[in-house]
Amino acid sequence: MIPLSWYLILAAGLFCIGFYGVLARRNAIAILMSIELMLNAVNINLVAFWRFLAPESISGQAFAVIVFAVAAAEVAVGLALVISIYRSRKTVIAEEINLMKW
């Protein structure tokens, strides 16, 4: 049998890899990919908690489904923004997108 700890450690690892990607990558699309990794780590945790600690209610899965919707919306708008910025400024490097910096 697999204890809960295995899933939690895996999710923590996935989350930290995504965390590194979000803060260290320069390409905005790569940053979005890393965010997807983090969201997936969250989903593993939600489902693992449901399975191991509260299998009698369905909340864990319902939460995970909502996370899917959020991820889809985030990707749709995020990539649209990246493409739009690329069209006007010819760059996808996150540091060079400083439209709102002061």
């Binding site: 489904v65 899917f68 919707a69 889809a72 749709a76 990539l79 649209a80 493409i83």
Partner: protein
Amino acid sequence: MLDQWLFVGIFVSIAAVFPLLPLVMARFLAPRKPNRIKQETYECGIETVGDTWVQFKIQYYVYALVFLIFDIETVFLYPWAVSFDVLPLFAVFEGVLFILILAAGLFYAWRKGALEWS
């Protein structure tokens, strides 16, 4: 349910092996006489001009975008359809409302001309 998924799991690995077999056979049976011209990109028969990365229409992305939204929303409806027997009548109308919101998205994209292939 897990033993049903075991079948799927084994199926995935076997299904990957099956198409590999003829490729491995071809590796032994097929001649291999590479030369520079043969290894070039075929494209359309004449020599390649310019970069492969031609400019793509944004329209491809727009279709993928609409698809993504529809995909996730349809998936939401599947559990609703499966539990139809135990749902009260108002829950059915909640599902219908959900579909109507989805249809509103389609209507907006349509009116905005996002579905036009220009």
